[in-house]
């Protein structure tokens, strides 16, 4: 058999498995071997569970052998962002404060993956507690972009996008609070979906900002994203904010890839200045492809989007400052005793642990949020931000009266170099300017690769946004665009990425 199992899509692997042309053990082994060969350079994983993944692969193979009725994705391995609680597997959220913590329970997303019979390969790297756009804020060192090892893979879910882009897994779970699935997808030439808020259970997702967080698929194809979306989506009684309705027909929409008669709204505020020319060029091309596929283009204005970043950086830190209070050394995780204190109090241990265990960006946001919620400032900061949030939701509502989906470049630029924005939080935050409005309004969004920017030859992303609970529209548009782009490129974009060194060393690639 000639198929490279590491490069095959999940949909293709599912076919091979169901026809008995390969086994889950074979696929899982190939991926784990690939990880051994390339992840020293990429550093997409924080933890690889070879034994666990192979055991579950063997189990699925046996059940298939007995003729059991299996889930469509049974036997297809997956990587999970380290922000999801996995029973018996370390879960650090990229933070020292959770080093060594082994959750006693599975996140709902994880138990759904297990229930579907999908071997979990390991836990992927991320910015600490999902705060960042580059993975440079991981306490365990950054992940490198497979397209250029000197560049960021996006963030916070850079590990999940890189693991998929470097063919270490066909599928990964990401989480998106302000773009952490979509922006990494854009800069690594992969696909990522942030479902409608409440579409995928947050139970077991270590909260950054509860009202913004949403887990979703990271894949190489739109159909794979839909297949994974279907596995993890749907109501969960353990999450009060979970939507009690069937998962939108995302797989069907991805297969039909039909945009004829669809109104595509270009958001004026998300296409102007500040976008790299090459990113902008690929965006314009993509819009043209959709027009060629039968869509109609309209321009919409969402004036409140310009205040989205400001509102986001008040709401997120406010919620985060409270969500992260539980990391106090009392019941789990790191415990640091204060130096030079003979008989420390619980409060002193808490303070010493939080000082040692949290990185600078986390502390920055905890301080911001604590300030924004303080009495006397609450109305001016948190209160005003909530008003802006409502205005943004209103903008979406109005825009969706004239357009079925909205589109923009996913991120203003292609992957930047390590360190470029590390000392300038504002520049880092601006990366998420196009992705944040969807989180504030709770609407679904997707990033699909739109090609390589002419000036640097790096991937750019095309963002699609749909009304809440209309996630299937993302897949219709994403799949239609993917089809046309693939034929114009003559193959997947990732085929153009440089070969990674498979020496298994930790030296940087050329």
């Amino acid at each position: 058999m000639t198929t490279d199992l590491t490069r095959a899509s999940a949909a293709d692997l599912a076919d091979l498995l169901s026809r008995g042309e390969t086994s889950s053990v074979e696929v899982t082994t190939a991926l784990l071997d690939r990880t051994e060969a390339v992840d020293g350079d990429v550093h997409a994983y924080l933890h690889v569970d070879r034994d666990g993944a192979l055991a579950s692969a063997r189990d699925v193979d046996e059940r298939r052998g007995r003729g059991e009725d299996l889930h469509r994705l049974a036997g297809i391995p997956i990587a999970v962002k380290d922000v999801m609680a996995t029973k018996g597997l370390p879960t650090t959220c990229g933070s020292k404060i959770l080093e060594g913590w082994i959750p006693p329970y599975d996140a709902t997303v994880v138990s759904r993956l297990k229930h579907a019979g999908m071997p979990i390969l390991g836990k992927t790297n991320m910015d600490e507690f999902a705060m960042g756009s580059s993975t440079e804020h991981s306490a365990y060192g950054p992940t490198r972009n497979p397209w250029d090892l000197d560049r960021i893979p996006g963030g916070s879910g850079g590990g999940s996008s890189a693991v998929v882009a470097s063919f270490q897994a066909p599928l990964a779970i990401g989480t998106d609070t302000g773009g952490s699935i979509r922006q990494p997808a854009a800069v690594t030439g992969t696909v990522g979906t942030k479902p409608t808020y409440g579409g995928v259970s947050r139970y077991g997702l270590v909260a950054l900002a509860s009202s913004l967080d949403q887990a979703g698929p990271c894949t190489r194809t739109v159909l794979d994203a839909a297949l994974l979306h279907e596995v993890i989506g749907g109501h969960d009684p353990m999450d009060s904010t979970s939507i009690d309705a069937p998962v939108p027909a995302v797989v069907e929409a991805a297969r039909r890839a039909d945009v004829s008669g669809m109104r595509i709204g270009i958001v004026r505020e998300l296409t102007g200045e500040g976008f790299q020319p090459g990113v902008r060029a690929r965006f314009d091309e993509s819009v043209q492809h959709l027009v060629d596929a039968g869509a109609e283009v309209v321009e919409v204005s969402c004036p409140s989007f310009t205040a989205a970043l400001a509102a986001y950086y008040l709401i997120l830190p406010s919620e985060a400052s409270s969500n992260l209070a539980k990391f106090d050394a009392m019941r789990f995780g790191l415990r640091v005793l204060p130096e030079g204190v003979d008989d420390p109090s619980a409060e002193q241990v808490m303070a010493a642990t939080r000082d040692a265990g949290f990185g600078d960006e986390v502390k920055r946001r905890i301080i911001l949020g604590t300030y924004a919620l303080s009495s006397g400032y609450y109305d001016a900061y948190y209160g005003s931000a909530q008003k802006v949030r409502r205005l943004i939701a209103d903008d979406f509502t109005r825009a969706f009266e004239t357009a079925d989906v909205l589109v923009s470049p996913t991120a203003p630029t292609t992957a930047f170099r390590f360190g470029d924005k590390l000392d300038d939080p504002m520049a880092m935050y601006l990366n998420d300017i196009a992705t944040i409005p969807a989180n504030l309004a709770g609407v679904p969004g997707m990033s699909v690769p739109s090609g390589l920017a002419d000036e640097d030859g790096l991937p750019a992303g095309f963002q699609i946004l749909a009304p809440a609970a209309k996630d299937e529209r993302l897949y219709a548009v994403g799949a239609a665009l993917e089809q046309r782009l693939l034929s114009s490129w003559g193959g997947p974009l990732l085929d153009r990425a440089p070969e990674l060194s498979t020496a298994g060393t930790t030296t940087k690639g050329a």
């Binding site: 006693p104 139970y203 077991g204 353990m238 009060s240 904010t241 209070a325 789990f332 009495s375």
Partner: protein, 507 residues
């Protein structure tokens, strides 16, 4: 170790001469739901430490709360019973502060959107009047865990070598009921405080939403108190006395704080806004944590929960499940039972209402039920310093047995003094009234000839008394009856003896 204090106090009369108390009461009630407020863990009291916990109530990373619908129902019923308005839409909020026994380092509570608000409770006072306590709000929240300080001699954090935390209590549903500031209560402030907490306890018991055991902490009272110099309406600085856990302590704590504040103000000092700890043994409060307006809990709406929005239909349906209000029920029972005001008040103050009610329901006459419960049983309970129902439960005396005792008298088998002996036997654990009567051979003599002979003997031996009766002084027959009963060694029906004596001495 009992707390000592150097706080000066002035006499209660002096306080009342110069100041008016302003009082606010915050009562926390643990709901008796089977599961916790935001997870499915059991809520059983006294279970093995940390045996009733899960990722949610331990605040493990990633865990999320889900509202216990039963707790919301209880909250609404409590609100309705307190004559409150019920919010059509309200949210939970996070109250942020660090404390080792609070797993998430925030308490999921309600802040400016309580489930119930603007109500009142009519409270019966000892003199038979009622006082209306205005209720500001009743809101839902979760309880914290419990710290156990090990290694010191006092069980307090001071001197302990380490602390253990039991999270079984973390996440148990609480309702906090807050009164408006009560003004103008004057000298009755301590009594009103106690009567309010008692009335609230009765109401919650009648609603069957909590076991309201103050000694186990399922009902806890915080007393906020300040003094206003007479003739002004300038509110003073208040102190907040925490966890006052018996009715008597509520009354004493209010009184003590009034005397303490009075001493400070008399001396030209300033009352410190602070938390005070109540010491049951010494009857004083001591300073706890100083509070200031800078105390900032950074409340914000709980993003992990959706708003609580009970429909009007739901609220009305719950209103239909409310029991008769205790005050109204007491009035009805008093008229059903034919008790005088004073009798009824004694019954209530002695905590006998429920026992008498059950006994009447089981077949006793109201007067009989009252006589037995408030007599020997109450006397013994008092001597043992426990309330009557506790004493009854410990000594296996039940309403059914009181009914049995009464029927032994009405059937003519026992007279009153015999019945008293039987009751003593029952309370001493000798068995049911009939068993005790049998075992002690207590039985009225049914043979009239023996009684008649005794009557004749007594008349003959007390000719002067007999003559008085013949002369029309019927009350003098009492002395003769006593002699007859003595001769019969108590085993006779005194009514019958009287009948015979009068038949022989009067035309």
């Amino acid at each position: 170790m009992s707390a000592t204090t150097t706080d000066a106090v002035i006499s209660y009369d002096e306080v009342l001469e110069r100041y008016d108390p302003v009082m606010g009461l915050e009562v926390h009630v643990e709901l008796g739901t089977l599961t916790k407020m935001f997870c499915g863990c059991a809520t059983e009291f006294g279970a093995e430490p940390n045996s009733q916990v899960c990722p949610v109530c331990l605040g493990l990373p990633g865990a999320l709360p889900v509202v216990n619908e039963k707790a919301v129902e209880s909250a609404i019923r409590i609100g309705l019973a307190l004559n409150c308005e019920i919010a059509q839409w309200c949210r939970f909020a996070r109250k942020n502060y660090f404390y080792p026994d609070m797993p998430k380092n925030f308490q999921t509570s309600q802040y400016d959107e309580p489930i119930a608000f603007e109500g009142f409770l009519e409270v019966d006072l000892d003199d038979g009047t009622t006082y209306r306590v205005e209720i500001e709000r009743a809101h839902m929240e979760e309880d914290t865990g419990k710290s156990l300080h090990v290694g010191g001699s006092t069980g307090r954090i001071h001197g302990a070598t380490h602390s253990l935390v039991d999270y079984n209590r973390a996440g148990i549903p609480l309702i906090e009921i807050v009164t408006k500031p009560l003004r103008g209560a004057g000298e009755r402030a301590p009594e009103i405080a106690r009567a309010y907490v008692a009335a609230l306890r009765d109401l919650l018991k009648a609603l069957d939403v909590s076991d309201v055991k103050m000694e186990q902490g399922s009902m806890r009272c915080d007393v906020n108190l300040s003094l206003m110099p007479k003739g002004t309406d300038a509110l003073g600085t208040r102190s907040e006395t925490k966890n006052v856990n018996s009715l008597r302590s509520v009354e004493r704590a209010v009184r003590y704080e009034m005397c303490r504040h009075g001493a400070i103000l008399d001396g030209g000092g300033r009352v410190v806004q602070e938390t005070r700890h109540w010491h049951e043994d010494t009857g004083v409060t001591t300073s706890g944590r100083e509070k200031s307006d800078a105390d900032d809990y950074r409340y914000f709406p709980e993003p992990d929960l959706v708003p609580v929005a009970p429909t009007r239909e739901t609220v009305e349906a719950l209103r239909g499940t409310l029991p008769e209000p205790p005050a109204q029920r007491r009035k009805r029972l008093q008229s059903d039972w034919g008790f005088a005001d004073l009798e009824m008040r004694d019954v209530i103050n002695a905590g006998l209402l429920e026992l008498i009610g059950e006994t009447v329901e089981a077949g006793a006459t109201p007067a009989g039920a009252r006589k037995w419960w408030s007599g020997e049983i109450a006397r013994r309970a008092n001597a043992a310093a426990v309330d009557v129902s506790t004493y009854a439960a410990e000594h296996a005396i039940t309403p059914a047995q009181v009914v049995e005792l009464e029927s032994l008298v009405t059937s003519g088998r026992l007279n009153d003094s015999m019945a008293r002996q039987v009751l003593e036997g029952v309370l001493d654990g000798e068995g049911t009234p009939t068993t005790v009567a049998d075992a002690r051979g207590l039985q009225l003599v049914q043979d009239d000839s023996a009684l008649e002979a005794a009557v004749d003997e007594v008349i003959a031996a007390n000719a002067d008394v007999a003559q008085k009766v013949r002369d029309g002084k019927v009350q003098a027959a009492g002395a003769l009856i006593g002699q007859v009963m003595k001769a019969m060694k108590g085993q006779a029906d005194a009514g019958k003896a009287r009948e015979l004596i009068l038949a022989k001495l009067t035309p």
